[in-house]
């Protein structure tokens, strides 16, 4: 493994890591794990949001073309998709409300809206579950990195005091290694910040589309309610 340089003067992360104090090392490892988890969330969130959007597109298309809601419900309600669950919640509430002899139209409308709204909120909660982690990383990682840097620079200065020498060659490796902690912090924080802003916008759009669908479905059921009564 001689081609992996462990010299701190070559900007090698391993070299910088091996030079560092244990506090700085802990900071570096923590930030590295945070960066790893951030990117895992970013990627999985990207997959999930795009698949949710695609599913909404397809579901809405099929719903518009479907003639019979009951038949469409049999076909599509079992899908593992937020919009399918919202649809299923609406249909379930409709069936429950219309199974009795006397139908309370106002109460049924209210219950339909509440049931679908609750499902939407639950789906959005599940979807946005990891976003708070991104937000935390985006705001905390620079500070954690800064802590490592401050610690490392303090250590460099105590080194100066101990060796009675303030030459740049004595101080520079310690400061480089300390700054590496901030670098990792920013490396983790910047993607997390961008992804957080982008995905919270994406989640808002998904929520808006689900709400629109739920409103449309609610209108359809409400019309049916008047015809059947």
């Amino acid at each position: 493994m001689e081609f992996i340089s462990t010299d701190a003067a070559t900007m090698s992360p391993i070299g910088l890591f091996l030079q560092a104090d244990w506090v700085v090392r802990a900071v570096m490892i923590g930030l590295l794990l945070a960066s790893l988890w951030t990117w895992a969330i970013i990627l999985s969130f990207g997959f999930r949001v795009s698949s949710v959007k695609k599913a909404i597109d397809r579901f809405e298309g099929e719903y518009r073309e479907a003639d019979d809601i009951d038949e469409f419900h049999r076909r599509a309600a079992g899908r593992d998709q937020p919009i399918a669950r919202v649809f299923a919640a609406g249909v379930t509430e409709w069936r429950r409300s219309t199974s009795g002899k006397a139908i309370d139209r106002e109460g049924t409308r209210e219950r339909l809206a509440t049931a679908m709204g609750a499902t939407i909120a639950q789906e959005i909660d599940r979807l946005a579950d990891r976003l708070n982690f991104l937000a935390t990383i985006a705001s905390a990682a620079p500070f954690i990195g800064l802590f490592g840097t401050v610690w490392g620079i303090m250590r460099s200065f105590t080194g100066i005091a101990k060796e009675q020498s303030s030459s740049l060659a004595v101080v520079a490796p310690g400061i480089a290694e300390a700054l590496f902690a901030t670098a990792i912090g920013l490396f983790a924080a910047i993607p997390a910040l961008i992804a957080y802003n982008r995905y919270s916008h994406g989640v808002n759009r998904v929520e808006a589309r689900l709400n629109r669908f739920a409103d449309g479905f609610h209108a359809t059921l409400s019309r049916r309610l008047e015809m059947e009564a």
Binding site: F3, W39, F47, R130
Partner: protein, 277 residues
């Protein structure tokens, strides 16, 4: 953690390992453009007090001028006409040598200089004229030739200061900066021993002490108060005390450590002592 998160984590892990692997191989390694090795800087340690900064450096002309007491050996006016008579005294002794050879030994010293001096007298006026006579013959200024002393000749042409002459410059050559520096140095050496009296208006008292020093810095005479100013009614009581203490401070400060080459400048010192000097 569901399926998409597992996939994301895997991809993120691969990406991180790849990135840090590339960095570790030295992909971004700069060839250390900043030379971190400090280049040594030459530092000259200069005395805090500029005692020797303006000392006149002994030049090579100095010893030569002392060796040749003849004044004004270079006179461009008189030099050109003299080359003409110059060959004559040189040429005339040449015919004379045949004379002393057959002549007896007793007359030898007398005839030799006499015909030469007599014959040269018409042309130059003084008997010591061989000095200016031979001066033009030298290509450069060598004032040592007239004396005929070879050791002086060597001293005159060498750049090194002569061994015989001391490097102590005359007192007139000590510049005002050196004087000020010496004064400050004297005050600096007295200050630790100076315990001024305290009281009303005691800061106005200025006591001048005069003392003669030996070349080794010790006191050659008892310090005397030669002047006191700033005596007011309120500090009159402390004036005598200030005089005594000033004398004592100078006594305690001796021997003074001062550069010996400027002894002329500090043979007699007159420090002025005041309260917060």
């Amino acid at each position: 953690m569901d399926r998409t998160e597992g996939a994301g984590l895997t991809i993120a892990l691969i990406g991180h390992v790849a990135l840090f692997g590339i960095l570790s191989v030295g992909f971004l390694a700069t060839p250390n453009p900043l030379k971190l090795k400090p280049t040594p800087i030459e530092v000259a340690l200069v005395d805090q007090v500029a005692l020797e900064s303006t000392s006149p450096t002994p030049t090579s002309e100095e010893p030569a001028a002392k060796l040749s007491p003849v004044e004004a050996p270079i006179e461009p006016d008189s030099a050109p006409p003299e080359p003409a008579p110059n060959p004559q005294p040189v040429a005339k002794p040449q015919p004379t040598p045949p004379k002393p050879a057959p002549a007896p030994d007793a007359v030898k010293p007398a005839p030799k200089p006499l015909p030469a001096s007599n014959s040269t007298k018409p042309a130059p006026k003084a008997p010591t004229k061989p000095a200016p006579a031979q001066a033009p013959s030298r290509p450069s200024n060598r004032p040592v030739a007239p004396t005929g002393r070879l050791d002086g000749l060597l001293n005159g042409i060498s750049d090194k200061p002569a061994k015989s002459t001391s490097t102590t410059p005359p007192a007139a050559n000590v510049g005002p900066e050196v004087k000020a520096a010496l004064q400050a140095e004297v005050m600096r050496q007295i200050r630790p021993h100076w315990a001024p009296p305290s009281g009303a208006d005691s800061d106005k008292l200025r006591t001048v002490v005069q003392v003669r020093l030996n070349p080794d810095g010790s006191l050659a005479s008892a310090p005397q108060v030669v002047g006191q100013s700033g005596v007011t009614d309120s500090n009159r009581a402390q004036a005598d005390l200030a005089r005594d203490r000033a004398i004592r401070a100078v006594r305690l400060a001796a021997p003074f450590k001062l550069p010996p080459q400027f002894y002329e400048a500090w043979k007699v010192i007159k420090p002025t002592l005041f309260e917060d000097m």
